[in-house]
């Protein structure tokens, strides 16, 4: 699949997208939307193992990932993809939005989550922002991340990540459907600052998750040296 010509293509032509979805219908539709918008769809696969196998060779900038795959769980696919090609950004595109799966995938390194019921414009915007390295928070994801920090708040361990007042406030606003722009206006902050706060909450969770995995690996004698990525670790969460 090649880049279509036209004005739109010029801006997106450098973004390489891989689609992982077991529904051919969705694979085709998403692929067409992306190609029409000028993205370069470099692969569209239906299985998690296949996606993990080819990730390193096709080098996607963005992976649009459905969590419900027939062969591997969404969390493991996310971890496997990022371990095979760490430069990739994973955007979850899910139909059912199972809480545990979404939270697990985000902790494993996915940076965005959007429901399949989102409009084409919302979806394309999400891919664009993911490619730019921004976290894409739907209200649902903000609620899950907030909930996860609330759960961690009961953990007395000193290295447990905590939310700052500001971060909690922003997550609550995003969780009630406010756009970053609305949040920025309400709090008299720049759009960028809001984006950074949101991003920060995600980074803290992902870092904590990695530390947890390493600790687990060491405790269980699975530590095979610094070169091995967390993909060789156990499936946690």
């Amino acid at each position: 699949m090649d880049v279509t010509d036209g004005a739109a293509a010029a801006t997106e032509s450098s973004t390489r997208v891989m689609i992982v979805d077991d529904h051919p219908m969705w694979r085709d539709s998403v692929s067409r939307d992306l190609t029409d918008a000028g993205f370069e769809v470099i692969a569209a696969v239906g299985e998690g193992t296949q996606a993990m196998r080819i990730a390193a060779s096709v080098r996607p900038d963005v992976v649009v990932l459905d969590l419900q795959l027939p062969d591997v769980g969404g969390v493991d696919v996310t971890r496997g993809l990022l371990s095979a090609y760490p430069a990739a950004k994973v955007l979850i595109l899910s139909a059912s939005g199972e809480h545990r799966d979404v939270l697990g995938a985000v902790k494993a390194g996915a940076t965005g989550y959007i429901l399949k019921s989102a409009s084409r414009t919302e979806f394309l915007d999400a891919v664009r922002r993911t490619a730019a390295g921004d976290a894409v928070f739907s209200p649902g994801l903000a609620g899950l991340v907030l909930g996860e920090f609330r759960r961690l708040a009961t953990d007395p361990a000193p290295d447990t990540p905590r939310l700052t007042e500001r971060e909690a406030e922003i997550l609550r606003m995003v969780g009630t459907g406010m756009s970053y722009k609305q949040v920025a206006e309400r709090l008299v902050l720049s759009h960028r600052t809001v984006q950074n706060h949101v991003q920060n909450t995600l980074n803290k969770l992902q870092l904590h998750n990695r530390v947890d995995l390493v600790r687990y690996a060491i405790e269980h004698g699975l530590d095979t040296g610094p070169a091995s990525g967390p993909a060789s670790g156990p499936a946690s969460s």
Partner: protein, 379 residues
């Protein structure tokens, strides 16, 4: 692993312990016997039989009627041998038979295998022999009668009781097995349901997307598909029933029922457990808030319900994207005696010891924030 295994182990322990008792009795009560040497032969046979039967009973398949019958016959023969071995005088004063308490073993084994009734039958058979052993030497009506009957009656009670326990254990084991099977089946059903739900959701989302883009009549179909999609997702994204411990319910599951194409309910991944009353009242308050959104902001306004579990308190925020409420409008409404917002919402929450705050800014919708304490304050 059978639940009856401990019963068999206790029977084995009892047999060996009572065997030791019989040996001690025979050693110290030398005078009671006419044929002391032959009594030792009987004891020897009892030792051999105890070892053999314990080994045999260890395997469930070998606990046959034949073996159980043989066990009973051996015990009765050993018991009756007392008639030939002991002195008449000893039996007159009601000395222990050569088997002592060892004779209870088969009755217990019968009870474990066949329940209370089998235990009773074996106990009665052994007990009858014990009485017969005495009967030849004592009149039925005598001072010793009561002590003669003591042993058989205790044996009968033991047989019935052990049999009853054994039956209970068998039943418990069956119930446990059934529960495990049901759990496995429902897990499998759940797994299948997830897959099916996801497929249906995929199709509905696709119809909604394509329909909306096509416009016209297709857009209407798309809108309907979107509604069904939201309803189904709300149904499946609640992660199953919460652990219903001590009358607590999951607030998230209850609020998720309010989700629709226009109302998003955002919850943490873990259940938010609250008292039943708190969940019911909070859900009612949220419903009232959503009704307000419909009433004041029109049928197309979107709303978000965010559940935030802060630990000691649980907060629920309901926000809409309507035009918002002008400054002072809420106070005016309260002053005019139209307390719809205040009462249906804050009244319920205040009863739970919590608070409700309404804030609004023009252009940014209206926000109702409910805070409910974990342990309700006494009113």
């Amino acid at each position: 692993m059978s639940l009856q295994a401990p019963l068999w182990r206790s029977i084995a322990v009892f047999r060996f312990a009572s065997l030791v008792y019989a040996v001690v009795l025979l050693t110290i009560r030398h005078d009671d016997y006419r044929h002391w040497g032959w009594a030792w032969v009987v004891i020897g046979a009892m030792i051999v039989w105890t070892v053999a039967i314990t080994v045999a009973y260890a395997t469930p398949a070998r606990r046959t009627r034949l073996l159980l019958g043989a066990d009973l016959v051996v015990a009765i023969l050993a018991l009756l041998s007392t008639a030939l071995l002991q002195t008449t005088q000893a039996r007159h004063i009601g000395a222990m038979p050569v088997t002592a308490t060892w004779l209870a073993g088969p009755a217990l084994a019968w009870a474990v295998v066949g329940g209370a009734r089998a235990g009773a039958v074996a106990a009665v058979l052994i007990g009858t022999c014990v009485i017969l052993l005495r009967q030849g030497h004592e009149p039925l009506i005598s001072g010793n009668q009561s002590t003669t009957l003591n042993g058989p009656i205790i044996l009968l009670m033991a047989g019935v009781l052990v049999g009853y326990i054994s039956t209970l254990m068998t039943r418990a084991e069956r119930a446990l097995q059934r529960a495990t099977e049901i759990e496995a089946a429902s897990r499998e059903r759940e797994r299948l349901a997830r897959t099916i739900h996801d497929s249906v959701l995929q199709v509905l989302a696709m119809v909604q997307r394509r329909g909306t883009e096509a416009g016209g009549e297709a857009a209407e179909i798309g809108r309907l598909a979107g509604e069904q999609e939201a309803a189904l997702r709300a149904l499946v994204s609640g992660d199953g029933p919460a652990s219903a411990q001590s009358g607590q319910l999951d607030l998230s599951t209850h609020l998720t029922r309010e989700a629709s194409a226009l109302v998003s309910v955002i919850t943490p991944a873990d259940p938010v457990l609250l008292d039943e009353r708190a969940v019911t009242e909070t859900s009612a308050a949220v419903r009232a808030a959503i009704d307000n959104v419909r009433q004041h902001c029109g049928p197309a306004a979107k709303a978000w319900v965010l559940v935030d579990d802060e630990g000691p308190t649980v907060s629920v925020t309901i926000r809409d994207d309507g035009p918002g409420i002008r400054d002072g409008r809420l106070a005016e409404a309260a002053a005019e005696g139209r307390l719809g917002v205040s009462h249906a919402i804050s009244g319920r929450i205040r009863d739970l010891g919590g608070s409700a705050a309404i804030s609004s800014s023009p252009g940014a919708g209206t926000e109702v924030k409910l805070r409910v304490p974990r342990t309700p304050q006494p009113v």
